[in-house]
């Protein structure tokens, strides 16, 4: 195993747990806005994971991907919100 610093391992584990907890809400979510919030948070956690990986590997490409994922996640959230407002939950 390559030498990954311990704080980075801890941070990656915590982010994975956060994504798992959010996924439970995505599966349970009583209303549609709950699920949209869960998807939005999963996107943010994914961006966090990419940023940590960029810090560990010193590859700029991870930060570029994080930027694109953040952008697409925002557009998707706004589109879902428009849909909820038109259709009702």
């Amino acid at each position: 195993m390559p030498n990954v610093p311990v704080p980075v391992l801890v941070a990656l584990t915590m982010l994975a747990v956060a994504a798992a907890l959010t996924f439970i809400r995505l599966a349970m979510g009583p209303t549609l806005p709950d699920r949209v919030i869960a998807i939005d948070l999963i996107g943010v956690v994914l961006v966090c994971l990419l940023v940590v990986m960029a810090g560990v590997t010193a590859q700029q490409a991870f930060l570029d991907v994080a930027m694109v994922v953040a952008l697409i996640s925002f557009v998707g959230t706004v589109a879902y919100a428009r849909y909820i407002e038109r259709e009702g939950s």
Binding site: D40, V44, V52, A70, T77, R82
Partner: protein, 119 residues
């Protein structure tokens, strides 16, 4: 020294993300869940980006980290507002302990007549 500082920032940012996950799972209604997710995700991602910029102090990393931070600060608030408005308009149930509900009540014919009389 820088290594320790950036490690501490990584753990702080991951803690905020974990708290957001716990908040989204445990909070009682849509609006409280939304504020947990939004606040913690902005702060958590900010900490992680500062950690990355400290660990790799090159222009390319710092510029990218700063632009991601600025973008998230702008869009998280907008996305949260849009979802909250959609949830409120679609009649999402509120936690029973909510004190202030500024959503307009269903207006009956009697209410409408009263309103025109006062105007």
């Amino acid at each position: 020294m820088i290594e320790w500082l950036s490690g501490a920032l990584f753990i702080a940012g991951a803690t905020f993300a974990l708290l957001a996950g716990v908040g989204v799972l445990r909070m009682p209604d849509v609006f409280t869940r939304m504020q947990a997710s939004t606040k913690a995700s902005t702060l958590g991602l900010g900490c992680l980006l500062v950690g990355v910029a400290l660990r790799n102090p090159e222009l390319a990393f710092v510029v990218r980290a700063a632009s991601i931070a600025a973008f998230m600060l702008l869009t998280t608030a907008v996305a949260a507002h849009v979802i909250a408005r959609a949830a409120a308009r679609s009649g999402a149930p509120m936690w029973p302990g909510t004190r202030v509900d500024e959503r307009p009540r269903e207006m009956t014919v009697h209410d409408a007549i009263e309103r025109t009389r006062h105007v």
